[in-house]
């Protein structure tokens, strides 16, 4: 457990526009060398020295990002193990890609607080700091668990369960035939059937992995909510930011009746942006449900874009203001194209200070750059922090899916090579174990239950 090589993104993405992927462990240097193209020839990198070059995918040689890399050899490192740090420039996407490649090369995703933990265990941090280490582990895990719970009810876990179930059933069948060789109930499962199920599951996993990249932005981007009263131009704002007509825009207040989620990239920062129904009391049942979901989106958001209509007198909505609290927020004074005098903007900006005010027109595309700048400002100033663990969780998931994929491919190979069923069972076990890491389920008890509920065996 302690000696394997761990990796994680160690700076909250967005800070300063540079993110660091850090590795620690005996394989760190080898993995670093395999995934990096030095700009000039380097045979053996000097320890604690920065090198310029590109992160590459060693499988196909594709360049991922321009980056700086440093190799720090034990014991003079934070963890007292070999440490490698890759400094990427391009924002969240290349950063996660880099991490993925490093994981594919054999590093393991670090658990929350694990670098610090290793530093402690290897004697780098003194006793007084130990309590702090535990708090870090605990706190981060609580967040991760909260997220885990969210994901449990989510789409991903449903999909994973749909893959897990048939696999568990065939494994139970195989195991039952091994443990009860003479039972007619459990005649040996035809290899064709195992093959069929594993191909089916592989397909599903491929689809999941393919959507994982998109899904990751969705899950991992900075959650941004567009809120405001009805008809102020929230959907129009979403559409201009996306550069496409995604949300329906009409002059009827209450057009948007449900929460709409999209992802986009602003200056290298991934946003998961949610257009909400205008928050107001309404008798319309459907709209009311939408309003409820808007409140939720508001509560969940990391960054809030509060839109107001400059042609109307602005009374801050108490409920929204409360929900915003100390969260980073940009006030958007929309429809400035209809404005005859800019005085009102000056007044407004004084009213909302210290929150930044951006004047813009969604229909005329005015002030768009100002808005982007304001967003980046908020993110890079550190007031918006994408939670590290959000990223961890889903990259971990993708990784688990890839391991399931490998195991299922091994199942197919074993079948095609005519291997005995006990070997096939080993790979099926591995596949289920990897899936279990996503859903948090253990196979042991489930398998025994599955065997005895499906097969009628006894003395």
């Amino acid at each position: 457990m302690l000696e394997d090589t761990i990796a994680a993104i160690s700076t909250p993405p967005g800070e300063g526009g540079i993110g660091i992927v850090r590795m620690s462990g005996s394989a760190a240097e080898a993995i670093g060398l395999a995934t990096f193209n030095f700009a000039s020839r380097v045979d053996k990198p000097i320890t604690h020295h920065l090198y310029y070059g590109h992160v590459i995918n060693p499988i196909n040689g594709k360049i991922i990002d321009e980056a700086l890399i440093s190799f720090m050899r034990a014991p003079h490192t934070f963890t007292r193990e070999d440490v490698v740090e890759v400094n990427c420039h391009g924002g969240i996407l290349p950063l996660t890609k880099t991490l993925e490649i490093i994981l594919a090369q054999g590093a393991r995703m670090a658990t929350p607080g694990e670098f610090t933990q290793r530093a402690f265990l290897n004697g780098r941090i003194d006793l007084a700091q130990a309590e702090a280490v535990i708090q870090v582990i605990r706190a981060k895990t609580d967040i991760a668990m909260e997220l885990g719970v969210k994901q449990l009810v989510g789409q991903l876990s449903r999909e994973v369960s749909a893959i897990r179930k048939p696999l568990l059933t065939i494994l139970a069948h195989v195991e039952a035939s091994i443990d009860y060789p003479e039972h007619q109930d459990v005649e040996e499962l035809a290899r064709d059937e195992i093959l069929r199920v594993s191909i089916l599951c592989l397909d599903k996993i491929n689809t999941l992995v393919a959507t994982a990249d998109k899904g990751r932005i969705l899950r991992e981007g900075i959650r941004t909510a567009i809120v405001g009263s009805p008809n102020v131009g929230k959907s129009s704002l979403l559409n201009v930011l996306l550069g496409q007509q995604r949300a329906i825009v009409t002059d009827i207040p209450g057009t948007t009746r449900d929460v709409l989620e999209e992802s986009l990239n602003v200056g290298g920062v991934a946003l998961t942006i949610v257009d909400t129904a205008g928050i107001r009391d309404t008798a319309d049942e459907i709209e009311r449900m939408g309003v409820e979901r808007s409140r939720q989106a508001l509560a969940d958001a990391d960054l809030i874009l509060y839109v107001l209509d400059v042609t109307e007198e602005w009374v801050p909505d108490n409920e929204i203001m409360r929900a915003i609290g100390a969260k980073p927020c940009i006030i958007i004074a929309n429809k400035v194209d209809l404005l005859l005098s800019v005085d009102i903007l000056t007044t407004l900006s004084q009213t909302v200070a210290p929150k930044p005010l951006v004047a813009m027109s969604a229909t005329e595309m005015l002030g768009l750059t100002d808005l982007e700048e304001a967003i980046i400002q908020q993110v890079f100033s550190g007031s918006v922090r994408a939670e590290e663990s959000i990223m961890v969780t889903s990259t971990r998931h993708k990784n688990a899916l890839l391991r399931t994929h490998t195991a299922l491919s091994d199942v197919q190979d074993a079948i095609n090579l005519g291997y005995a069923v006990d070997l096939i069972a080993i790979d099926l076990h591995s596949a289920l174990e990897a899936l279990g890491e996503i859903t948090g389920e253990n196979i042991g008890p489930d398998l025994v239950e599955e065997i005895f509920s499906n097969f009628c065996i006894g003395k």
Partner: protein, 631 residues
């Protein structure tokens, strides 16, 4: 009135499969040992099926033997049929099973016990444990005999407060018409142990001459005389077949019509029965769509006329049992000799045990077998052996032995029991062993015989022959690596005849052996070589070479596992004071007191974060300890 009756190093209570192994191990390790049984005629009784072995269970028997236990040697003397099961399913799950002559088995075991030095065998009902200051002192029998001992092993099987149930009839009793042990279990409670109630059952026995075998299908044994024991091949004797028949629509109708008379459905049984061995009434109710269930008729011995009706375990009233049996093809005129029954009994919550099978509550007290919540003769024997060894080691002030999950099914069995506990009688299954490919029945000696030798349970001759086998295997592997086969016309012709792809380039013989369709014999033929080696050796070579990839994968997993097992948690650690543990984890850890971080990680409710917290604390402790020493 009690009187002082003697002093022993180790006392074993109960002479079932666990008790026999425990007492033999203890005596063979030089401890003065007393084995007490309710009835000298019931030593090593097989009150249920007349068979030993099968998947996972057969593995256990081989391991017991490799470590120096008795069961394999005795069944090799008392078997009336032997089969190697799962031969088409890969080497990891090949499994030996023997049909036993029950009487012969008992007599062979009794003879062994009676002729073992340091071992006294006595008939007595134990009623009391003597415990002082948390340490076991001895026992008291119903007749007032007080025996002192340094260690006591309880192996009471299903006898503690045993209660037999047949329909609405129930009475106190042990299995097969034996007495129940009535007072000991309340005494165990008094001394601070947690008891619970489990249930199991057995089918009826019928007379051979009342069976129309022509309506059943013969199930013969194997030709080959596979031994259970690594000590050598037993003399081949006449094999006796089993017979297969099945339940009918009429059987199921009878069961449904009488369900209201079943104690299970009437709520008369409180004990928790195992899912894996449901009674026939359970099966018929739970699997409604199944038109028939298999029924195996198994002889109980060479001379006995009794046949065991496997698949028909029941606690329905006797008249229903007879009617049920008569509805089965071949049993139309059946004469039932004993009815089936359910039995409820007291057992311990195994979470109170250390992985050495010593109690965490009472020093010097061990337990093994069904009292620990397991089921099966083989599971009992495996625990008995470990408990016996460790009881002896307590007396001799030696370090206990720990068999872990990577070493043996024995380790999986014990770790599951003491770490996860069990809510039903625990049966060993191959799917419970995560390193199954390495825990094969063919290499149990490789895994355990060095330990058995070191302990003194394996004699010199057997150890030498083990060493020779090991050297031969290694030498033969090296030889195969050095033999090169070139794509000659002759070789390729032969390959084609073996339904294998012709060669394109020269390749090492060991490499070619990896092809699933080619056997070791094929490879020798291709190479134009012969080998004087025994099949025991060549079989090892073949498995090791063929499955190398998988074996290495599992070995890597084991390395990881070992690292965690080797991180020992000090016993006195106070979990409630550890900040950062989840509440559930702290409670479970405090209760189970895991020995190592690895064991802790297998406790349900203990998350990876809890383990990380523990790691940090352990390190913190270690360093504090260091400071104290320096200061």
């Amino acid at each position: 009135m009690t009187y002082f009756a003697g002093e022993y190093d180790v006392i074993v209570i109960g002479a079932g499969h666990a008790g026999c192994e425990a007492s033999l191990a203890s005596a063979r390790l030089g401890c003065k040992t007393l084995l007490l049984t309710l009835n000298l005629e019931a030593i090593a009784l097989m009150p249920c099926n007349p068979a030993i072995g099968g998947p996972a269970k057969g593995h256990l028997v081989r391991e017991v033997d490799a470590l120096g236990g008795q069961m394999a040697r005795t069944i090799d003397q008392a078997r009336i049929q032997i089969r190697m099961l799962n031969t088409a399913k890969g080497p990891a799950v090949h499994a030996l099973r023997a049909q036993a002559d029950k009487n012969l088995y008992q007599w062979e075991m009794r003879r062994t016990l009676e002729n073992t030095a340091n071992l006294d065998l006595r008939q007595a009902m134990v009623e009391q444990l003597k415990v002082k200051a948390g340490k076991v002192q001895g026992i008291v029998t119903r007749t007032g005999a007080l025996y002192r001992a340094h260690a006591v092993v309880i192996t009471t099987g299903t006898y503690l407060k045993g209660r037999i149930i047949i329909g609405s009839l129930h009475y106190q009793g042990g299995p097969n018409g034996q007495l129940a042990s009535t007072k000991l279990s309340s005494n165990l409670k008094q001394v601070g142990l947690d008891l619970r109630r489990f249930k199991t059952g057995t089918p009826a026995r019928i007379h051979r001459d009342s069976i129309d075998f022509s309506k059943t299908v013969i199930q013969p044994g194997d030709e080959e005389n596979f031994p259970f024991s690594f000590a050598g091949t037993p003399t081949q004797r006449k094999q006796v077949p089993c017979w297969l028949t099945h339940t009918t629509a009429e059987t199921h109708r009878i069961i449904h019509a009488n369900l209201h008379r079943s104690p299970l459905y009437a709520g008369d049984i409180q004990g928790i029965g195992p899912r894996y061995c449901p009674s026939i009434e359970d099966k018929v109710v739970r699997f409604k769509d199944r038109p028939t269930h298999q029924v195996f008729l198994e002889p109980e011995g060479y001379d006995s006329a009794e046949y065991y009706v496997q698949g028909m375990s029941t606690s329905l009233p006797e008249d229903v049992q007879v009617a049920m049996l008569k509805s089965i093809p071949g049993l139309e005129n059946v004469k039932m000799m004993r009815p089936g029954y359910a039995i409820e009994y007291d057992c311990l919550d195994p979470l109170q045990l250390q992985p050495t099978l010593e109690s965490k509550v009472i020093e010097g007290l061990f337990s093994a077998g069904q009292i620990n919540g397991s089921s099966g003769y083989e599971e009992a024997a495996a625990q008995g052996l470990v408990a016996g060894i460790n009881a002896a080691h307590v007396v001799q002030e030696q370090a206990p032995i720990l068999v872990d999950r990577s070493m043996a099914y024995i380790g999986v069995l014990i770790d599951d029991l003491v770490t996860k506990g069990t809510l039903e009688p625990y049966r060993m299954m191959t799917s419970r062993a995560e390193y199954r490919l390495l825990l094969r029945q063919d290499n149990a000696d490789e895994r355990l015989t060095p330990l058995g030798y070191e302990l003194g349970l394996i004699d010199e001759a057997r150890y030498q022959s083990f060493l020779t086998k090991r050297t031969d295997v290694a030498a033969e592997r090296t030889r195969l690596e050095k033999i090169t086969l070139s794509p000659s016309e002759q070789v390729n012709k032969m390959l084609t005849s073996f339904a294998s792809q012709p060669l394109k380039a020269a390749v090492a013989a060991s490499q070619l052996l990896k092809r699933p369709e080619l056997s070791y014999a094929n490879i020798l033929q291709l190479a134009g070589e012969t080998s004087p080696l025994s099949s025991l050796v060549t079989n090892q070579v073949e498995i090791q070479v063929k499955y190398q990839g998988y074996i290495e994968k599992q070995q890597l997993q084991i390395e990881k596992y070992k690292k965690m097992e080797n991180r020992i948690i000090p016993e006195e650690l106070s979990y409630s004071e550890l900040e950062g543990l989840s509440r559930e984890a702290a409670e479970k850890l405090a209760k189970i007191k895991p020995r190592s971080l690895g064991q802790a990680s297998r406790i349900s409710g203990v998350s990876p974060a809890d383990i990380a917290v523990l790691l940090v604390y352990l390190e913190q402790r270690r360093r504090r300890g260091g400071i104290v020493h320096v200061g």
